[in-house]
Amino acid sequence: MDILVCVKRVPDTAENEIEVNSDGTDIERDDLVYSVNEWDNYAVEEALQIRDKVGGSVTVISVGDEESEEVLRREMAMGADGGILLSDDAFEGSDGRGVAAILKAAVEKGNYDLILTGAMADDGAAQVGGMLAAMLDRPFASLVNHIEVVDDKKLKVGREIEGGNQEMNEIDLPCVLSIQTGINEPRYVGIRGIRKVASLEIPVQGAGDLGIDPSTVGEAGAKVRRLEYFVPDLGEGAEILEGSTEEVIEKLIEILKAQGGIK
């Protein structure tokens, strides 16, 4: 099975405090630590496990600037067979639909049986996978937390639904699935693994290579536009306990007692 996994380079929320920049046009990008989107890492691991079971290949692909090469390389160090970077000034400022359109053009240049995305990325939209599937006219399932290869025509997939219940479906290949965290345990990538793939070539494709009209993607083609970033003022918020640790603990114990928090 030839599998394509869409991966995005995002600020690592576990490593950074995300703040709005001074004029509200973006988040503060200085000194941000980036990594591969958490959901995408699970998607790559799942693709590798499927490949190792039934044969085939895993390709990772990203729409981004040249820095995105580092996440492609990281996922190749995990075991992906190849990477493709889709990069062009014309792609900058794409909305979700634009990203999906760029990915679609690349998908049509290959021959993939299965396309995986993460369920969601840093802007929380959870949209690119479903859009890509609809553009390709392929079946789609979101929030997938279980995949079983039935034969070369279909898969059995579990979707995570409310309350931790699981919805089982049969889905025809070729298809697009968006992967939920927890589906597997992504393997660890050490510095040695990264070194091993350091010299592998990652082809870069732009609008011209993909036959994309630049006015349909990027800033120019975006129908959904961010006007500004801000931090909402949601009423009073918490009463922050101040003082030395000892004083804070004392206050907190009083509060716990008053609220019935200590039995």
Partner: protein, 322 residues
């Protein structure tokens, strides 16, 4: 102004809370626009849902049939593309069904998609201004979109205050005959219920809940010791379960358990809406987080800005000394 359609989520003959919240969101877009509820399903219960929807919307489109007995988003998308008029404004709940349906629906209708909307600010001409959140709620964005040719909007459950269903006495129109070709490459098989764990966190009065801030599996001990000292039960956020450090039955949130404790201690939890979605009955929330800007502090009653790995053991020790 085009027509606004609200897709009504429902179960066992009862419309979900999100239905009336979306009606409120629709009113915020344009209070004058004609409002149509989309009620899709199968069986006798469906008419009960239509009745509830008719109390809040001027029109109800009922679409029934065996193919809709389970809400398979791929099937429902095809039907919606067949029945919806041009330029429709379609509201869907941003739940696991809406996440499955809406991105693809927007492509097939060839209209923009606004995902996980938490507020609607203004409609000027055909330009709609809405509010979203990014980075797990750490920052918000104001977003604009031209909805003149229609739009699909996913509305975050719980973000809008439900509008009273004020006797709209809506007319129910049966659209089932127009559903059209529903063949698709995904077939629903069954729902597998979540496993029951050793401890029922839904019954606990006091929960000590840990998130990614606990950093290491070994550190879970410090939460267990605190819980023991105050007579609480340990629960957690999703990353702890994804890492297989705790059982799924301990997870609080939309894809985990819905809990209603009196006191909820959130230790190293950022406060994403999926996590907070599992907290019901307005518990007293105590948050301990080393990031003073963590979104959890906006919903907590009391906050401590500190490293849980240092603070919690000291707290436990003081309580044990009492």
């Amino acid at each position: 102004m085009a027509e606004i359609f609200v897709y009504i989520p429902h179960k066992d003959g009862v419309a979900d809370d999100a239905a009336l919240e979306m009606v409120a969101a629709a009113r915020k877009i344009d209070a004058e626009a004609p409002l149509t509820a989309l009620v899709v399903g199968d069986g006798a219960d469906l008419d009960k849902v239509c009745e509830q929807a008719a109390a809040a919307c001027a029109k109800v489109w009922k679409v029934s049939g065996e193919a809709f007995a389970y809400p398979n988003a791929e099937v429902i998308r095809k039907m919606l593309v067949n029945i919806l008029p041009d330029k429709a404004v379609v509201l869907v709940a941003h739940d696991t069904f809406g996440m499955d349906l809406s991105p693809g629906l927007s492509i097939k209708l060839d209209v923009p998609f606004l995902s996980d909307v938490v507020d609607i600010e203004a409609l000027e001409g055909s330009s709609l201004k809405i509010v979203r959140q990014e980075y797990g709620g750490a920052v918000s964005t104001r977003v604009s979109c031209d909805i003149g040719d229609g739009v699909v909007i996913n509305v975050r459950p719980g973000a809008f205050k439900a509008e009273d269903a004020a006797g709209a006495a809506g007319e129910v129109v049966d659209k089932s005959a127009e559903a059209g070709d529903l063949s698709c490459g995904r077939r629903f098989l069954e729902v597998v219920e979540a496993e029951v764990g050793d401890v029922d966190i839904t019954k606990a009065d006091v929960l000590v809940s840990i998130g990614r801030g606990i950093e290491d599996e070994e550190n879970i001990e410090i939460a267990e010791e605190l819980a023991e000292a105050i007579g609480a039960v340990v629960s957690c956020s999703r990353p702890i379960v994804d890492a297989k450090w705790m059982e799924k039955s301990r997870q609080v949130g939309t894809s985990g358990q819905t809990v209603k404790p009196k006191v909820y201690m959130a230790l190293g939890i950022s406060g994403s809406f999926q996590h907070l979605g599992g907290l019901k009955g307005s518990p007293f929330i105590i948050a301990v987080n080393k990031n003073p800007k963590a979104p959890i502090f906006q919903v907590a009653d009391v906050g401590v800005v500190d490293d849980i790995l240092e603070f919690v053991p000291e707290l436990t020790e003081k309580i044990q000394e009492m």
